[in-house]
Symmetry: C2
Subunit: 200 residues, 2 copies
DNA sequence: GTAACTTTGTGAAGAATTTCACAAGCCACC
DNA sequence: GGTGGCTTGTGAAATTCTTCACAAAGTTAC
């Protein structure tokens, strides 16, 4: 989150930003900002604040965004398409090296700049390309089975959009985005009249 | 999350589940499960566990899922389409009452079972329909402006897919899903060889 | 050069969350 | 009806996270 705002400030040509400014932008407190950043190093200058451009570079380094990550997208449906369309991905160093589906009517069809590949080739392609990240955008029923296959092929991180709880070995990183669950959280907030801090 | 698993257990015909079972399913600890559930009431039976079907109903009640929520989708792009396609929504009581875009080539076109409406009508439709929830699936640049308009029209909760930080008054609930940020989290985990507990 | 002002970095205090551990309750079997 | 085996609910302890508050360090103005 800090990176997102610092990039904005950087393009605006801002030289430095205080923990107070960053806190207001991010909806947190100055002390929190300083503690968070101090975990990774001592980036600020007393009396001045944090050097925006330099700190941006540091955070990109910390997050591992200075290199290119190869990503495979599994599932050539609407979610997959939304992801592939999203410019932010390539900008941030995520390169989509393949799109896979098991629907014969989709395989071989053009899909953005790429072509939809047969899911049967997925495992060997992951190994050959050494793609470490997979985005899973397929129906829930098949999710765990596909996960097991790509874990076997050496995938190291999975971003899961299937509304299913899946399991991976400890050396594989997993993030799940469950849109129904997000909406249910809003339903809970509305039902119980929860008042926010105004940002999320 | 508990609800998701309890529903699975329920359809499997399981009568009761212990905190230990739920903890294993959800990747947490038995004590955590008991503390969490005890916050809302005393649902379990000592020696037996929690009554699956009954607890499911309780949780649905707590989350406010026993009623129907009207939802407007803003942005008739890929993300909006993915959401509208997603059966889970209606199943869980979220009814899409309108899809809006400001692209003249899209307005009036059929879109799933609905028709794309002109964004100009958005505010008055929200008021007329009394739709409390909006899903924002539009480019970042316009996000805050649209948010201000729908907040003015009385929206009470927003699920934001635009990769922008937006601000709402305290009485409006906001959840943001930022796919680039999720991937960056995975990049961080890979870069720093973080070992997970095996589920997320 | 120095005085007034800003802002970081960080121990210590405070608050929140998670885990522990065990009494109390329920079931099943004899 | 009593006994043994489970499992919850929950205070208390342990841990983690956040906030406070201030010395140290830098900047600006003159």
């Amino acid at each position: 989150m800090y990176l997102r705002y610092l990039e904005d400030l950087d393009t605006q040509g801002k030289q430095t930003a205080s923990s107070d400014e960053l806190a207001h932008l991010c909806g947190t407190t100055p002390a929190q900002v300083r503690k968070d950043l101090s975990f990774f190093g001592s980036f600020g200058k007393r009396g001045l604040g944090y050097p925006v451009h330099e700190l941006t570079a540091h955070l990109r380094e910390i997050l591992g965004l200075e290199r290119e990550w190869k990503v495979v997208i599994i599932g050539a449906g609407k979610i997959g398409a939304a992801l592939a369309n999203y410019r932010g991905f390539r900008q941030r160093g995520f390169k989509i090296v393949g799109v896979y589906d098991n629907d014969p009517t989709k395989i071989g069809q053009p899909w953005g700049e790429a072509i939809v590949h047969d899911m049967a080739d997925l495992a060997q392609d992951i190994q050959r390309e050494e793609a470490p990240i997979a985005v899973l955008a397929i129906p829930s029923d098949d999710a765990q089975e596909v996960v097991d296959r790509i874990v076997g092929a050496g995938i190291r991180a999975i971003l899961n959009f299937a509304p299913a709880q899946i399991t991976v070995p400890p050396h594989v990183s997993l993030k799940s985005v469950n849109m129904a669950m997000e909406l249910e959280g809003l339903s809970f907030a509305l039902t119980n009249s929860i008042v926010s801090r105004g940002a999320a």
